[in-house]
């Protein structure tokens, strides 16, 4: 059969023009809100499945973001800006009161906050009983992964709308508020639902007071949320959210560009950002919180038990080489474990350089240090890396950089969950960790306090270097009421870390998400602790 090409081409072109005319009418997200827009927002997240939806155990990005849509806390970080606090379930931000050596914080609950209904538990008004139950759960190491954050704290329901939190040792607002805010253990679960569902039920069936209500979980596919019509800040603009698990970046990218997704998690790579920005239908948001990349040296594994060897590695590494693989717009170099750019207590480049602790790349010096340590011919280290690009890039760059001074790294690539398990078994001589923590105290406590040493610590956490030389500084800073003195103590602690080269701070990488032009999050994006742009009652979808 003879095909007549010209008419077919003309027909195709005409069809494309019609489709183009229809789709190009998508409005932008500027301008005031006028009426409810509705629609289901489809969100592609970089994970294969749910980790856990119990907010007091969740730590993965995919879980934190979903939990944030379902739960509230007494206090919340301002939407889109993780540097400011505002009341959430509490009617106002409290001030501390001294009670002898103790410190008390009293929260008055907002009226009319409804716990979402679930099977066998109809909707009911949240009371102080729920809040106390939830905070006690957070403080219980059998029911929470963040129990250590709440040690020395007691919770009491004064009346149905008043909760009193008493601290054995006083804390500043800067340290207390994050513990009770919408982050990790601060999320408030509804007691009746939690008791009805049990510990296992909560893992896949979150019930809170937030703008969206859990509807359905399809393993390895998606979680569906619907608008919570009884939400205390008003009915959400969206009808719901489809939270899709899509571990492959290219699939998410094509899903967004093809219109099957409205929001997609991207990657901290400037090449990806610029590529997506070239597409007229997509908008890319690069925002905080910056997750800090640090390289921790296990001082129990020879030859890393020798300070000159750890220093040699530090001098062999070059922050600029690491950063060149992500791009300046999505990352920034850091010179202390606490990032000075957005957190008090961090050391700036100038401060570390003045102390001679910036470890500016000097491979000749590194070789000399190795030779002096009797390792002129180098040595080999075996370690695992996660398959995630954010980890592999750092491990493989480190591998190439250390090879230049004779240090060979044999890398084994494993899935992300396996990497987290393995490094907590104390087997990796060098651990690359990418993490955000809400303040200097949490960074230092979790990564450098002896209690947090992996396997052998009193409360094993993420002290991979087995560092135990700044416990007193951390403890002292935590209870220091004077902000300036507290900051000085944190800086002293980090000076010691760098002198002992327990960890090499590399850079922080920002969060990268892409969205269709018709998506309006409802707030400016500066930094979000839940590691996603923040979908709430104000988020709108304007694509029709």
């Amino acid at each position: 059969m003879k095909v007549r090409l010209a008419p077919m081409l003309a027909l195709s072109m005409a069809t494309l023009l019609v489709i183009g005319a229809c789709t190009s009418a998508a409005p932008t997200n500027t301008g005031p809100q006028t009426g409810r827009t509705g629609g289901i927002l489809r969100f592609g997240q970089s994970a294969a499945d749910v980790g856990t939806l119990d907010p007091h155990f969740a730590s993965g990005t995919q879980d934190r973001s979903l939990i944030d849509m379902v739960f509230n806390a007494l206090i919340r970080f301002k939407p889109g800006d993780g540097t400011q606090f505002e009341p959430d379930l509490a009617a106002s931000l409290p001030e501390p009161k001294s009670e002898g050596a103790k410190q008390a914080w009293t929260f008055t609950l907002r009226k009319g906050v409804m716990c979402q209904p679930t099977d066998g538990v109809p909707a009911y008004e949240l009371t102080s009983d729920d809040v106390v139950y939830s905070l006690q759960k957070s403080a219980d190491k059998n029911r929470s992964a963040y129990a250590g954050e709440y040690s020395g704290m007691t919770f009491e329901a004064i009346d149905p709308s008043t909760v009193k939190v008493t601290l054995d040792s006083p804390l500043s607002k800067a340290l207390l508020y994050p513990k009770l805010a919408n982050y990790s253990g601060g999320y408030i679960v509804c007691r009746k639902a939690a008791e009805k569902l049990g510990a296992d039920g909560l893992k896949t069936h979150p019930v809170g007071t937030g703008p969206f209500t859990f509807k359905r979980y399809s393993p390895k596919e998606k979680v569906e949320l619907v608008a919570n019509e009884a939400y205390f800040r008003g009915k959400p603009q969206l009808d719901g959210v489809e939270f899709l698990y899509m571990p492959d970046l290219t699939s998410r990218e094509l899903g967004l560009l093809g219109g099957q997704l409205d929001v997609a998690n991207g990657t901290a790579d400037i090449a990806w950002v610029e590529k997506m920005e070239r597409n007229a239908d997509a908008k890319v948001d690069v925002f905080g919180v910056g997750e800090v990349v640090s390289i921790h040296f296990n001082s129990r594994i020879p030859p890393l038990d020798k300070l000159p060897v750890r220093q040699a590695i530090a001098y062999a590494l070059d922050r600029a080489e690491f950063q060149s693989l992500t791009g300046a717009r999505v990352s920034e170099q850091v010179f202390s474990p606490v990032p000075a750019q957005f957190m008090p207590g961090g050391l700036t480049q100038q401060e570390t350089a003045a102390k001679g602790l910036d470890y500016k790349s000097d491979r000749d010096k590194a070789k000399k240090l190795l030779a002096d340590a009797g390792l002129a011919n180098g040595f080999t280290l075996n370690m695992v890396t996660s398959e995630l690009p954010s980890y592999r890039v750092v491990y493989e760059s480190m591998q190439a950089q250390l090879a230049k001074v004779g240090i060979k790294i044999d890398l084994k690539v494993v899935d992300h969950t396996s990497m987290h398990s393995t490094i907590r078994l104390d087997t990796n001589p060098i651990v690359v960790y990418v993490a955000f923590r809400p303040n200097a105290d949490v960074y230092l406590s979790q990564f450098f306090h002896s209690d947090a040493i992996v396997v052998t610590g009193k409360k094993p956490n993420t002290n991979f270097s087995h560092y135990a030389s700044i416990d007193s500084l951390i403890d002292q800073a935590r209870s220091e009421p004077d902000t300036a003195k507290q900051t000085a103590l944190w800086k002293d602690a980090q000076t010691k870390i760098l002198q002992d080269m327990a960890a090499y701070p590399v850079m922080f990488t920002n969060l990268v998400y892409a969205r269709r032009k018709g998506v309006d999050y409802g707030h400016e994006l500066k930094s979000v602790l839940a590691l996603y742009p923040g979908i709430d009652e104000t988020t709108r979808l304007m694509k029709k």
Partner: protein, 298 residues
């Protein structure tokens, strides 16, 4: 003498074909098969490029340059640079060494093990034959990639482990073919004659059976080399092959998928390398089968 009688007489006169003449005929058959000659030439070219990769590659395949990452192909870097700023051409050339070592090494291993199993099973018969061939059947029941995954999940990644895993996958087909050929050969009269003059079992297998199935084995070797390279690429693609930073065609394709839209050359060029290599060995295998298979000759 009538014509029919004459034809019968000619039929019974068996003229021994000189070995040189037989080799000549085989060579003529092979050379006459243009696809096979192309396959041989391509396989030789790929092998030479892989062997001399350190001399041919203009760049260190592991040298990173973040400032020039994802640079498209140009005069200096004809196949572009990857996400670490490494030269894609140099990495493909060096990856070829890994792929060929794995392809040839695993076929040698699988071929040796499979040939021995098939030979012993076919020659011995009885319970030993049943035992060995059922074991082979069990191995063949698993999809090759699944079996490779299982072995590597237990052993962990690494060149020698990949060779071991793929070699294990390849031994059953060799065993099946050799077993069948042995069953056929051991009924031949020349074997009875050799047995009659006192040849032992080992001698019979080594000098009388094995040399008569070299043709089949050579064909299997060339065809399965292609398969071994393909399986290695698949295992590397899913992250179970060779560990970074060593390049293999499979892990290059996988790493390129992240940048498939803005830097397609990262996946396309190693994909082409796999395609050409697999094609070369398959064409070569087909050509050898045409030459060595007596049925096809008739």
């Amino acid at each position: 003498m009538n014509a029919a009688q004459s034809l019968r007489d000619r039929d019974v006169v068996v003229r021994p074909v000189p070995a040189r003449s037989q080799r000549r005929r085989m060579w003529d058959t092979f050379v006459g098969n243009r696809a096979a000659v192309f396959g041989l030439g391509l396989a030789l070219a790929i092998t030479l490029l892989a062997i001399f990769a350190p001399l041919i590659a203009s760049q260190d395949p592991l040298a990173q340059d973040g400032a020039r990452r994802l640079t498209p192909p140009d005069d200096v870097f004809p196949l572009g640079r990857d996400a670490f700023g490494r030269d894609v051409l140099s990495r493909i050339l060096h990856a070829g060494r890994i792929s060929l070592v794995i392809g040839i090494g695993s076929v040698m291993l699988g071929g040796t093990v499979g040939t021995l199993l098939g030979l012993v099973a076919g020659y011995s018969g009885g319970k030993l034959e049943s035992l060995l061939m059922r074991a082979v059947d069990v191995l063949m029941a698993f999809p090759s990639l699944l079996l490779g995954l299982t072995v590597l999940a237990v052993l962990g990644p690494g060149l020698e482990k990949v060779i071991l895993a793929i070699g294990l996958l390849l031994s059953p087909p060799f065993a099946r073919v050799v077993h069948g050929a042995t069953l056929s050969l051991k009924e031949q009269e020349f074997l009875t004659a050799a047995r009659a003059v006192g040849a032992g079992h080992l001698r019979l297998m080594r000098l009388h059976i094995l040399p008569n199935m070299v043709g089949e084995i050579v064909v299997l070797v060339s065809v399965w080399t292609a398969s071994a390279i393909r399986v290695e690429a698949s295992l590397s693609f899913i992250g179970l092959g060779i560990s970074p930073p060593t390049p293999t065609w499979g892990n290059m394709i996988r790493d390129g998928t992240t940048h498939l839209i803005n830097a397609p050359w990262l996946s396309i060029f190693p994909g082409v390398a796999i395609l050409l290599t697999v094609l070369a060995f398959n064409l070569l295998g087909d050509g050898l089968r045409d030459v060595l298979d007596p049925k096809l000759q008739q």
